[in-house]
Each structure stands twice: as C-alpha cells, then as structure tokens.
C-alpha cells in the first residue's frame, strides 16, 4: 500500500505506473453505508441477532467495496481488496468468541465467586438452594492433576530421553509414531480405557486416583513431545565435552543434558497440566463425583472443577447455572495461571 502510493506521488500527471486507485476516504464511507444499510434492515425486518448484524454488515461492505473497486481499479485489484477484507474478517471472527467467552465467564463468574464459594462444598445443598461452593471440587482437581503429573512426568521424560539420546531405527520410529497417535487420542477414550481396565477389569472403585490415571494418559504425549524438542535443542558440544572428561553416558544425560533442558521441560509440563486440568470427559467416567469434601484420592469418589461445571450446567435451576459460572471462572483462572507460569519460566530461563 504505502509503496504504491509513493510511486503515484513520484509520477504526477501523465505517467500512470500503478493505475487508478480508489481514494482512501472511500472505504470508511462504504463501511458507514454498510452499517447504515444493516440498521435499516434491522428496523424493517424482524432480525435481532447481534452475530447476524456483524455478518450482514461485513457482507454488504464486501459487496460495496468490490463494486467500487472493479469500477475504478479493475478486477485484479478488486479481488485483492476483497481477500484482504476477508482475511481481516476471519481474524475478527476468531477474536469475537474468545472475547465473548472470557467476558461471559468473568462477568457472570465474578458475581458468584467469593470466599464462601471457595471454601464450602455442596454437602447438604439442595437443587434449589442458592448456597454451596467448589471447595471439594478444587481439592479434587488439585490432587488429581498433582497425581497425574507425578505419574506422567518421570515416565514421559524417560521416553523422551530414549527417543533423543538412544533411539535409532525401527523401534524408536514406532514409538515416535505412537506418541503422535496418543496425541490425537480423544480424552473420552482415555476415560473409557481406565473404566474398562481399572474399574471393570481390576474391579476397583471409582476414586480420584482412577481419574488421575486417565489424566496421565492424556499428559504423556504432550510431555514427551515438548521434552523431546527441548532435549534436541541441547547443543551437542555439551555432550561431547562431558564425554571427553570421561563422564559416562548416563551421568552426562542426568547431570548435563537434563539440567540444560530443564526450564523448557518444566514449561512443557506446566502446559500439559493446564491442558488436563480442564478435562471433563475422562473424569466423568472415573471419579464419579460427590458433593462432599474428600481429601483422600485413593478411596471414595471425588469431585473436580470441570465435572462440577458440567453437572451444574446440566441442571435447570438458575442457582446451579450461577455456580457453574463461578466454577468456570475459578477453573479459567487456574488454567491461565499455569499457562502464565509456564511462559514466565520459559522466558526467565531463556539462556543463549
């Protein structure tokens, strides 16, 4: 844009290097016209949706701009302008739901979240009662993701070390392929597997630990992939220097390679934790849910924040929906804190 206007300025009078252009002021005019036409349409026809307003105004703007551009600038530039508008619209379309989701969660959740909400469970709270809180669900979520990390991280690290430091040939390619397969595993399948394996085949009761097992399966591929990327980034000079000093290979990996890659690995783990903290489907099938506080993840059903949101959102009473929004705000704050911590660690530890 700027270069072509400069060219036009450099060629005053007869020489037309860039062809005729629409003056800039035309575009806001078309935009205003499109919005005005949409407002008229809304007054005349029985349409109310705000989503539709954006879509109709956008379409009208696109048509107006294309007609004007074809008339003055020719079809090639009209297409270019059309695509530019579409790309900007696409970005707008992506930002709208993000803003809408965050705005609803924050505005509706903030009305409900207070100290009482965070420190009380749903025990003895009837379906129509306004009270109750998420304390039991918060405890459940924190214990389950802690257990899942405890199980998933060491295992995933070993797999990543094998893939990067030792893996050659067919076995390592197969493992790498199945890490990808696990990445695409629907979360509900992880839940069904733990249901089939742990609860039905081994005849265990649904507990927080069963939920943690399901979350572990979902964490493994994410942690393996990120740890693999981080281990690959460790310069080979470090490994060779260590070997040259006579340090054995496994000590090199444990004492040199892992500490160098550690910040990146921690970031990957935090992102994986943030991802599984919001998983509902596997927990639905494995922890059973409860209204009471249960500190012990190894016995008796537990609750969890996502499960709490799901069960409250499915009820018709407005007080339940309000509780769901409050829990949603808490969950989103938890996930965003984990994300922010991950990015902070990545930034602070960025050496080189």
């Amino acid at each position: 844009m700027s270069t072509s206007t400069a060219a036009m300025a450099a060629a005053p009078g007869g020489l037309h290097l860039v062809g005729r252009r629409l003056p800039r002021a035309v575009f806001p005019a078309i935009g205003a016209g499109a919005v005005a036409a949409t407002v008229v349409l809304y007054v005349l026809a029985p349409i109310t949706s705000r989503i539709q307003f954006v879509l109709i105004a956008g379409a009208l703007y696109l048509i107006g701009q294309t007609v004007a551009s074809i008339a003055v600038e020719g079809s090639r530039r009209a297409t270019d302008r059309g695509v530019t508008t579409l790309v900007y619209l696409a970005f707008l379309l992506a930002v709208i739901p993000l803003v809408a989701v965050l705005a609803s969660v924050i505005s509706k959740g903030a009305q409900r979240v207070d100290v009482n909400f965070l420190t009380h469970s749903m025990r003895n709270i009837g379906a129509r009662d306004a009270g109750g809180g998420i304390y039991h669900a918060l405890i459940g979520t924190l214990e389950q993701i802690a257990l899942a990390s405890l199980l998933a991280v060491p295992f995933s690290l070993l797999v990543a070390i094998y893939l990067v430091e030792y893996g050659r040939g067919r076995i390592s390619r197969t493992i790498s392929f199945f890490v990808d397969v696990l990445t695409g595993l629907p979360s509900v399948i992880a839940g069904l597997f733990i249901l089939a394996f742990y609860i039905l085949a081994l005849e265990q009761k649904p507990t927080g630990f069963a939920g943690a097992l399901a979350l572990t399966i979902l964490m493994i591929p994410v942690v393996v992939r990120s740890a693999e990327e981080m281990l690959k980034l460790v310069p080979n000079d470090l490994r060779e220097a260590s070997y040259a000093l006579g340090v054995s290979r496994w000590r090199t990996i444990v004492k040199v390679v892992l500490p160098t890659a550690l910040p990146g690995i921690v970031t990957g783990v935090m992102l994986a934790v943030a991802r599984v903290a919001g998983e509902t489907a596997p927990l639905l099938l494995t922890i059973f849910g409860t209204d009471s506080i249960n500190f012990n993840p190894f016995s008796g059903p537990q609750s969890a924040l996502p499960l709490y949101i799901y069960s409250q959102a499915g009820q018709p009473q407005q007080v339940a929906i309000d509780r769901a929004w409050g829990a949603a705000l808490t969950l989103i704050v938890l996930v965003m804190l984990l994300n922010a911590a991950a990015r902070l660690i990545a930034r602070l530890a960025r050496v080189r």
Binding site: I47, T48, S49, I51, Q52, R76, T79, T84, L86, V87, Y88, A90, F91, L93, A94, L98, A100, V105, F155, L158, V159, Y166, R168, I175, F177, F178, D180, L182, T183, G184, L185, P186, V188, I189, L192, F193, A196, A201, I217, I220, K232, N236, E240, R249, W250, V254, G278, A281, L284, L285, I309, Y310, A313, G314, A324, L331, I332, V335, M336, N339
Partner: protein
C-alpha cells in the same frame, strides 16, 4: 520445493550423527565397563516399550470389556440406529452416533478451516511483523480455554443468540435439504454444536497452518511480487501451493479433535437417535457425547455398549490422525509443524 532437506531437524544441529560418533566406546574394556550405562539405557527403552504396551492395552481392554455387551446385543451393532443397551433384550447400534459424529465434525471443519487459513494468512502475510507474535498468542489463548467452559458458554450464551441465525437460514435457505426443518427451530442443534466445535478446533488448525505458511521461502513470495502480482495473487501462486499439504493435514488433525470432543457437544446437543441431515433441527448425538450422557444410567451391558462405541471412535480418530500424519510425513519439511 524441498529447499531444506534437513528441515525437520533444524533445531538439532546434526544431533543423531554426532551423538553416534561421540559415543564413548569403552564396552570392550571389561575393567571400565559401566553397568549403570546399560541399566539406564534399558530403563529408558522399557519406558518407550511401555508406551507401546499402553496403546496395545487401550485397544485390548476396550475390546475385552465390549465383547459381553456386543454378544448380548440383539441388533446389528454397526447398522442399528437405536440405543437401548439397558433394556431387555438390549438393542443398540452405533450407526446414528457415528453419523452424528462425522456430520458435526465435518461441518465444524468446513466452518473452521477457511477462518483458520484466514487467521494464518493474517498473521504471516498481512499483520505488521511487530504484532504477529502477540496476535498469534491471542489465538493460542483460545486453545487454553477448557472444553467444558466452551460447552457452558455454548449452552447458555450462544444457543439463544444462534436461534435467529438458524431461523434466518431455514426461512431463506430452507430449499437446501441441509437447512430444511420439520419442526420448529429452538437453538440446540447439530449446527450450533458444529459452531462450538469450530471455535474449539480453530486455534489448532490456525497454529499449524501458520507454521507452514512461515516456512514458505521468502524468495518465492518476493519473486511473485516482483512479477507484478497483487498480494492475493502472491498468496495464490506462492503461499497456498506450498502450504497446501500442511493445511490439509492440519485440517485432518482438527477433524480428529472435533470427532473426539465430548463435553461441549454433550451440553449443547439434545441427545436423540436417528439419522437426519437436517442440521438445524433440535436433534442429533455423537459417540463421545453419548458416552457422557448415557454413562450415569448405564447398567453393565450399557457400560459395555458405551465402551464398544468408544472403540469405534478410537478406530475412526486413529485413521483420521494417521492420514494427517502420512500427509505430513510425505512432505518432510512440514514435520516441524507437527504438534
């Protein structure tokens, strides 16, 4: 096109070869043999093999726990559209669920992919370089929102607001069979579920497409511009052909994600069985959503039936994901974009 033969390993400066040569060769010397080395190597390898065993166990136990229910089933599991596994005799089939799963996922993909490609183009070509990274971060934030929150938002906020859009579609485009309705439009429909799914897979498809578009050689883009192409012509002739396999595989990964999504669909869709192309009608169900909805009241046959349907979902998503990976693998230079 393969200007970077070693593209996928860019981050690792010759890792494989160098490590292999730098490996301390002291195994021949008995006195200096290092048992810990072998132990550690075997430990990591058994973890790797354990991962393979995990996948095998997932498939094996799903089959094992599904067989009892399948043998008790009096209908054909693949073609029956009913779902009464708790009745006696139990009758259930995955046909309607599979249809709903594929339909919602494909519509979600049809909505999400053009928008995601637009976002990727916006970030790589249109946006000023300074804003590119923050904008990409904003899109990634969408991916961090838990799916149950999308479900809650979809049910409470989006469904009432989409009612008008759906009425408009069925009033003016009802002559297209897809948009026709037999009963009144009430908001909760395959279409709204697909919109929610589209929002959820948008960041994944956009992020992968962005990675691919970033790898288009600058020389290709500048050559097109130097030949007098407009920006769109440059995108059409240089960026899109180069990025097509990446975009296709990103879409397939998004499709797999959309098919497996459970809670958002379970909250938005009214659980119903039957095969209908009327995406605006309040009907439809998916395999994953049915698991969430039906689990609470399922007896032992019912649980087995849900596990059997999960097995179908497992196989279908695995096929879709494998196709996506195969497309990436065929064009090795894109494997750096694989998440």
């Amino acid at each position: 096109m393969s200007s970077e033969p070693d593209g996928p390993r860019k981050g690792s400066p010759g890792n494989d070869a160098a490590v292999a040569t730098a490996e301390p060769t002291n195994s021949s010397d008995g006195a200096r043999a290092r048992p810990m080395d072998a132990l550690f190597k075997n430990l990591t390898r058994s973890a790797g093999l354990g991962l393979l065993a995990l996948i095998a166990a997932i498939a094996a136990f799903l089959v094992l726990e599904a067989t009892d229910a399948l043998s008790a089933n009096t209908g054909n599991f693949l073609t029956t559209t009913e779902w009464f596994p708790n009745g006696s005799p139990p009758v259930f089939g995955v046909a309607a669920l599979l249809f709903g799963t594929l339909l919602t996922a494909v519509i979600a993909m049809a909505i999400a992919v053009p928008v995601a490609v637009g976002i990727a183009l916006f970030i790589t070509v249109y946006a000023p370089r300074r804003f590119a990274a923050p904008l990409a971060f904003v899109v990634d934030l969408l991916a961090a929102v838990p799916s149950v929150i999308f479900g809650l938002w979809g049910l409470i906020v989006l469904v009432p607001r989409m009612e008008g859009v759906q009425k408009f579609l069925t009033d003016y485009f009802g002559w297209i069979p897809l948009f026709a309705t037999d009963n009144s439009v009430v908001g909760r429909s395959i279409f709204v579920a697909s919109v929610v799914l589209a929002i959820m897979i948008l960041p994944i498809v956009a992020a992968l497409s962005r990675e691919v578009f970033l790898q288009v050689p600058i020389a290709h883009r500048e050559a097109a511009l130097a030949l007098g192409a407009t920006r769109w012509e440059m995108i059409r002739t240089a960026v899109l052909p180069y990025g097509r396999p990446g975009v296709i595989s990103a879409s397939m990964l998004g499709l797999g994600r959309a098919m497996g999504e459970t809670i958002a669909v379970a909250l938005v869709l009214p659980a119903s069985f039957g095969i209908s192309w009327q995406i605006l009608s309040p009907a439809g169900n998916t395999i994953a959503a049915n698991v969430a909805n039906g689990f609470a009241e399922a007896n032992s046959v019912g649980r087995g039936a849900l596990i059997a349907s999960g097995l179908v979902l497992f196989v279908v998503t695995m096929i879709v994901n494998m196709i996506a990976r195969a497309i990436i693998a065929r064009r090795r230079e894109f494997s750096g974009a694989a998440a």
